[in-house]
């Protein structure tokens, strides 16, 4: 799995940091998404997919490796 984030789209709702805190954080000043690991371990896949689905601004893209 490969994850990308778009900080321009991010509206700082924090759903990613709440749902998959091992993979996403928020910038201390701007509050926008910080990607901690673009290639998360398999145990995080479900949480990452949920975070992407929940993101209100569609700022998270998940590319599933085949």
């Amino acid at each position: 799995m490969r994850v990308e984030v778009d900080t321009d789209r991010c509206c700082g709702a924090g759903m990613c940091a709440l749902t998959a805190p091992a993979v996403f954080d928020q910038d201390e000043q701007a509050g926008t998404v910080l990607l901690l690991t673009p290639e998360p371990v398999a145990s995080e896949f479900a949480a990452v997919r949920e975070a992407a689905q929940l993101c209100p601004a569609a700022a998270i893209t998940v590319e599933e490796s085949s």
Binding site: C11, A13, A17, L18, Q26, T32, A57
Partner: protein, 402 residues
């Protein structure tokens, strides 16, 4: 074409369950998840009751949040024959990107998950102090005044730097402003008073900045006086009225579902999913959210014309069985994520992580301290806020074994 809602959005909840959205909206969702609705001013718009559709529209930039494009969806005297007042500068919830983005970005860093988690010890302390006071006074208590309103009010006051001792200024006036049965003159007077108070507060911050959010905005220099007052009004009202109603209505819902309450008090792990489920089940944004088509758009095979208003009824959408099986059951064990209680899209609630922390602490501490808590009046005598923009209870008399 038939018009499914020929007059206005229904606001009463006649099914006998005070937690259910108006029954006709549930019926509408089964047959017409996007239905024609006549607004009281004559505007022919739409009401959306399906979860997937409401979510899709909330995330679609072709639908606007601009306040001046809105139509009032409910039939109340206050708005009859009157144009909506212009949107004050800085009132970003009624703006679209990029203007909305510019304003919201000034605040997003203040409401991160981490910052809200740092508030936990202080919020726990506030909750415990109020529960101590309830215990000292002895049963009965009135849960809205003694607990549910006090916690979020005190928290948002401390966060913003609003003296809590001055809370009467905004408690009484915001309640009046949200009451749809009050006259326009009375509401505008209350609005004027609260704006004057906040204007004066901003001046005090300018003269003597402290370590609080409003002082930071004042000294940050990005906002002028009018914008600062709008920000203060938004944060103060959104920060106390919404969470207060979730806390009281949520406690009522748990008391009315004893098996769920028993599960809640028996399992500390249930706190987080329980808060999401209460948010879904209760969805206190009484009339849902509103968007206006900026161009002709086709949604689910239906042509929406430019300028038409859509009422996205989030309380009904959060009861959509296609998204949440057996939606009318309060089931704290379910995975309720994806609910629309905080909205969706770039306007999704900025303070939602604060609300979550307050609710987790608020429900847990309440039922820990008073395990025998029960209503002090029959459930059907609890006064419900059917004529308010935010649903809930006006008061909740409770008692316990002391």
């Amino acid at each position: 074409m038939t018009i499914s809602l020929p007059n206005a959005l229904p606001t009463t909840r006649p099914t006998g369950c005070p937690f259910d959205p108006p029954a006709e909206l549930g019926r509408l969702r089964e047959t017409e998840p996007v239905a024609r609705m006549r607004y009281p001013d004559g505007h022919l718009g739409w009401v959306v009751t399906g979860h997937a559709l409401a979510r899709q529209i909330l995330a679609d930039p072709r639908f606007s949040s601009r306040g001046e494009l809105r139509h009032v969806p409910i039939d109340v005297d206050r708005f009859k024959g009157k144009a909506l007042p212009p949107v004050p500068r800085g009132m970003f919830i009624q703006m679209d990107p990029p203007e909305h983005t510019h304003y919201r970005r000034l605040l997003t860093g203040q409401f991160t998950v981490r910052r809200m988690n740092q508030l936990i010890p202080r919020i726990e302390q506030i909750a415990e102090e109020h529960l101590d006071a309830m215990a000292r006074k002895g049963p009965p208590a009135e849960l809205v005044h003694d607990y549910a309103l006090a916690i979020p009010s005190l928290v948002i006051c401390e966060l913003l730097g609003v003296p809590y001792a001055e809370r009467a200024v905004f408690h009484e006036r915001t309640k009046l402003m949200l009451n749809l049965e009050r006259g326009d003159e009375e509401v505008m007077a209350a609005f004027g008073e609260i704006m004057a108070y906040l204007g004066e507060l901003i001046e005090r911050k300018r003269a003597e900045p402290a370590d609080d959010l409003l002082s930071g905005l004042v000294t940050g220099g990005e906002l002028d006086h009018e914008e600062l007052v709008s920000f203060a009004l938004l944060l103060l009202t959104a920060g106390h009225e919404t969470t207060a109603n979730m806390l009281a209505l949520g406690a009522f819902a748990l008391l009315e579902n004893p098996d769920q309450l028993k599960a809640f008090t028996g399992d500390p792990e249930l706190v987080e999913p329980a808060v999401e489920e209460l948010l879904r089940y209760l969805t206190i944004t009484h009339f849902g959210l509103q968007r206006i088509a900026l161009e002709d758009v086709e949604i689910a095979g239906i042509a929406i014309a430019k300028g038409e208003c859509l009422q996205l009824h989030t309380p009904a959408a959060n009861r959509d069985p296609a998204k949440f099986p057996h939606p009318d059951q309060l089931d704290l064990g379910r995975h309720a994520s994806g609910h629309l209680a905080f909205g969706h899209g770039v306007h999704q609630c900025l303070g939602q992580q604060l609300a979550r922390v307050e609710m987790r602490i608020g429900y847990r501490k309440l039922f820990q301290r008073f395990p025998t808590l029960r209503l002090a009046v029959p459930a059907d005598e609890v006064p419900m806020r059917t004529k308010m923009g935010i649903y809930g209870v006006h008061s909740l008399p409770v008692t316990w074994e002391s």
